[in-house]
Symmetry: C2
Subunit: 173 residues, 2 copies
């Protein structure tokens, strides 16, 4: 039983570190994408390109914000639980919240990263070769943001393995 509690405390610390990493990845990804702009010269004068102009980048922002809010909540709960030694959500609720939360949020982040990186990869040569608007910096920033989102997905997916392994504690009660 004591060994079990030690493992449980150890894995809770690992999960907390994973959540803090996710936090940093998502925040950096959000800042890079939200501040990403480019100016192109058109026949009607200069036009400004922002992330809002690409639907996939708007979807990315939405997944990052949901992932960020979820992680903020989970980190608060984890720190509370480590400091006080009690779980904030008592009984099954905590384990189920972790399990379904990590699962759903990790899928969301995976789709956000895939859509963002896929679209950047496809649109860049279009702008560069066909429209002759290289926009290299704009797309480099989009790749950077997408890659950080991908890292945030990976850390959440690992958390999700831990929260799945924690399910027996619920199922056996």
């Amino acid at each position: 039983m004591e060994a079990n509690q030690a493992t449980s405390k150890g894995s809770r610390t690992v999960v907390l570190v994973l959540r803090l990493l996710t936090f940093v990845f998502l925040l950096t990804s959000l800042i890079i994408l939200a501040t990403n702009t480019a100016t192109v010269e058109t026949t009607d004068g200069d036009a400004k390109i922002k992330f809002q102009d690409v639907i996939a980048f708007r979807y990315m922002i939405a997944t990052i914000v949901i992932g960020f809010a979820y992680n903020l909540l989970q980190t608060t709960i984890s720190i509370y639980s480590i400091v006080t030694g009690n779980r904030l959500l008592s009984g099954d609720a905590g384990y189920l919240f972790d399990f379904y939360g990590d699962k759903v949020v990790s899928y969301l982040l995976a789709t956000g990263a895939a859509a963002g990186l896929g679209v950047a990869k496809e649109l860049h040569p279009f702008f560069k070769d066909i429209l002759e608007l290289p926009l290299n910096k704009f797309f480099a920033m989009a790749y950077a943001s997408g890659s950080l989102l991908l890292l945030g997905f990976i850390t959440t997916a690992i958390s999700s393995v831990f929260s799945s392994y924690a399910l027996p504690k619920k199922v056996q009660n």
Copy 2:
């Protein structure tokens, strides 16, 4: 214990149905995407557009093939297990294979669907409005294939919930 075995048999049947559904979704998605072509008139004569011309669609095909192979293997194992009453992979191996397999494959399918649908959504107006090549049928087929892949992801994600709940059987041994 008997109630447990009944639940276990019931959930194995549900998972088998989910896998058969995934099978159908992925096969249909694969056929639609792989046979999707369009012909466009260019100044150099007619050019044929295939799924291979879009990187995201190639990635979609890769995720569908992996998901399909995994489901074929899992369905075979499930049918064997239901018919003979024995699990093909004995002990922990079976539960861990289900758990990690469902997890990894569902993430792959999620990213395939997101990249494919995201890129189709972004490229379609580009071809239509800027290059004046509507390619409506080509993109409608890509959306159809991506939507079926999304359904295949959802059924795999539900399987993944079952295989996570089955983990205690391993952890407690």
